[in-house]
């Protein structure tokens, strides 16, 4: 909407339309610009509280947690799939990590175990989807229920608090000024994922699968391998997020991660990734993660009644897709793609 207001008032409707269309073509760039403006406005109007080191650090840690699974989810959605088991994988993987700490497993080994646990959960989804030919939403809905049950059963009504403080130090306290090491690490992972998706052959296969799976198959592309890869990847990245989350609040309960999924999905779709597959980018999802974080920050920084939180996020999702993606999908329908 701020897009419209920067247009001089004497401009004709047609020119506004043209501008909108140009913005839609460069959706990611527009989103980035809007975010920069929002950040500047927030920095100027919150009397410095937004820029306070500790506040920034918390926001950065939140983003580090969400970014990994968001990158994974982007890849999954690019193949035309979906993974709704993220929250439950966090719960079960956190239980695994917690138990390992409780039983005195060496620190580095626990970190590996956390990553491995996530990857295994992802492999199980891949097995059901690629091997069992079960639609992704059904398969991941099923594993989601199963993992949640397992984490309740493993924890047996207790929480695990025996998390070494060194984990919190690594994940959310130490860093360069307000920038925690964890976010820098996740950003590096994100950059490699972006490189992989753009430059590596298998990355292009992922796009091809989402655009037209049958065509990809008949042209002999490794469709199965690409799909297995995306589900294992999101599992692995969810494992990474689990470690960050357990570091952020060092208590493991069955509710750990329970509200992580919707913000991540919101970030990916606001970032411009088409839910039907084939279109979208890692960069867009990174910006999506930033936007979700900005909304959550703004609601408290501007002392808004907390109940408005969800309404604001909902409106932003709808407005973002209407402005950013509306014409694209309308065009796609015209071309008979939907």
């Amino acid at each position: 909407m701020s897009v419209v207001t920067i247009v001089p008032s004497h401009t004709g409707l047609a020119e506004i339309g043209a501008l909108l269309r140009r913005l839609q073509r460069n959706y990611v760039a527009t989103l980035g610009t809007v975010e920069v403006i929002v950040v500047v406005v927030m920095a100027l109007t919150t009397h410095g509280s937004f820029l306070r080191t500790s506040s920034l650090r918390t926001s950065f840690v939140d983003m580090a947690v969400n970014l990994g699974p968001a990158v994974g989810l982007t890849m999954v959605i690019l193949t035309g799939g979906i993974d709704v088991s993220v929250a439950s994988v966090v719960a079960v993987d956190a239980s695994l990590v917690g138990l390992a700490f409780e039983h005195g497993v060496p620190f580095v080994l626990v970190l590996l175990l956390g990553l491995l646990g996530g990857a295994l959960a992802g492999a199980m989804n891949a097995l059901l989807i690629v091997g069992g030919k079960i639609p992704p939403i059904v398969a991941t809905l099923a594993t989601s229920s199963i993992w949640l049950a397992v984490s309740f059963w493993v924890l047996g009504g207790n929480w695990i608090t025996a998390i070494p403080s060194s984990l919190s130090t690594i994940t959310s306290i130490s860093g360069l000024g307000p920038l925690p090491w964890s976010l820098m690490f996740v950003l590096a992972v994100t950059a490699s994922a972006a490189y992989f998706m753009r430059q590596r052959p298998l990355g292009r296969v992922i796009y091809a699968v989402g655009n037209n799976q049958e065509a990809a198959k008949t042209s002999g592309l490794p469709v199965g391998r690409a799909k297995v890869m995306v589900y294992v990847t999101i599992g692995l990245l969810t494992g990474m997020a689990t470690l960050l989350l357990v570091g952020q609040s060092p208590v493991v309960s069955p509710e750990t991660g329970s509200n992580i999924f919707l913000p991540i999905l919101a970030a990916v779709v606001v970032g411009g990734t088409s839910i039907t597959g084939g279109r979208g980018s890692i960069l867009g999802s990174l910006l999506g993660v930033v936007l979700v974080e900005l909304v959550n920050d703004a609601v408290i920084l501007y002392h808004v009644n907390p109940f408005w939180d969800d309404v604001v996020l909902g409106v932003i999702i709808v407005v973002a897709v209407v402005i950013g993606l509306g014409s694209r999908y309308t065009a796609a329908i015209g071309e008979g793609k939907l």
């Binding site: 229920s145 397992v150 409106v315 999702i317 939907l338």
Partner: protein, 328 residues
């Protein structure tokens, strides 16, 4: 024997075989865990747990039938929003029937908003309804100011709690009639033909003169209405409108029912009987586990396993049937 069954009733076996088998297993399991699960008085209580979910599953199934990857996540937000509105109005001494109509109207309006954005602007349903899920449940919290509303007159409890000859009113006067109506809409009416064709092949539908957009749009409106009704029935049972009810977990359960009931997520395929059976499966499972004082998380886990078994079983049956056809 199996071959004979397949030859005579191939369609029905492929469609309901796995579901009926699962229902039998669940009933046997339930009886083993807690005998008399299926005694009439238990059945009456049990159905009150199934009605709201079953209603929402009908709406969700209609949306999905329309194809194009359609799904309605926003039911998780209309489910608390409608009773919150009803409670607010009744608290201000608005006549009960008027408040109920207004609350149902909110469901319809919510469905219209979804439909307009999804169908009108051609934006994928999962994104739009994710946004409106946030929006509607957020509104419920804002309007209720975050607290449970209890300003219902005693007579409002009749729908949710009343019984006729031991049979719950909500089953007799809400679920059964709506099942018939939905069955007619989704299987017998001209609309059934339109939405199924739209779901299977929108281009063919368009070419044969079906208004694809208006067909899909109507499904969202029905889904919104049924979600609002489900919310009202539940709040009438507990005489409380909770703004935090519903949410994404409820949507997950509803989608589970729809999928278990054999609705094809890519559109065009699915039956009302399948959904009724799937609702019964989850209801019996939940109730017998509760009755056996089992940890309720087991039920969640088992639902996941059932979902996988059902999908693999159904795929297996279809393959078996194809092989059988090829051999004869």
């Amino acid at each position: 024997m199996t071959a004979w069954l397949f030859r005579r009733h191939g369609d029905a076996v492929a469609r309901y075989g796995v579901l009926v088998a699962i229902l039998v297993v669940v009933i046997v399991l339930g009886e083993a865990l807690a005998p008399a699960t299926l005694a009439p008085s238990n059945l009456a209580t049990m159905t009150t747990f199934g009605v709201p979910l079953g209603l929402m599953a009908f709406g969700e199934a209609l949306v999905i039938l329309g194809g194009g990857g359609a799904i309605d996540l926003s039911i998780g937000g209309l489910y608390p929003l409608a009773p919150v509105i009803a409670a607010l109005l009744m608290g201000h001494h608005v006549a009960e029937w008027l408040a109920v109509v207004a609350a149902l109207g909110v469901g319809v309006a919510g469905g219209i908003v979804n439909g307009l954005i999804v169908v009108g602007l051609g934006i994928p349903a999962i994104i739009v309804t994710l946004g409106t899920l946030y929006g509607y449940s957020g509104l419920a919290e804002v309007i209720a100011n975050g607290v449970n509303l209890t300003s219902f007159p005693a007579s409002f409890g009749e729908i949710g709690q009343g019984t006729v000859g031991g049979i719950p009113d909500q089953l007799l006067f809400i679920y059964l009639p709506i099942t018939v109506v939905v069955w007619y809409i989704a299987s017998r009416s001209l609309y059934a033909y339109r939405i199924r064709l739209t779901g299977t092949n929108p281009v063919a539908a368009y070419l044969s003169g079906v208004n694809v957009r208006s067909t899909r749009f109507k499904a969202y409106v029905i889904s919104g209405l049924l979600a609002a009704l489900a919310g009202l029935v539940e709040s009438s049972l507990i005489m409380t409108a909770s703004p935090t009810a519903g949410g994404v977990f409820t949507v997950f359960v509803v989608v589970t029912i729809v999928v278990l009931g054999g609705v094809d997520l890519f559109g065009g395929e699915g039956t009302v009987l399948g959904i009724v059976l799937a609702t019964a499966v989850l209801m019996v499972l939940g109730y017998s586990f509760d009755l056996a004082n089992a940890n309720s998380i087991l039920e969640t886990g088992l639902t996941g396993v059932l979902l996988i078994v059902a999908m693999l079983g159904r795929l297996g049956l279809v393959r078996f049937r194809t092989r059988l056809r090829m051999s004869t």
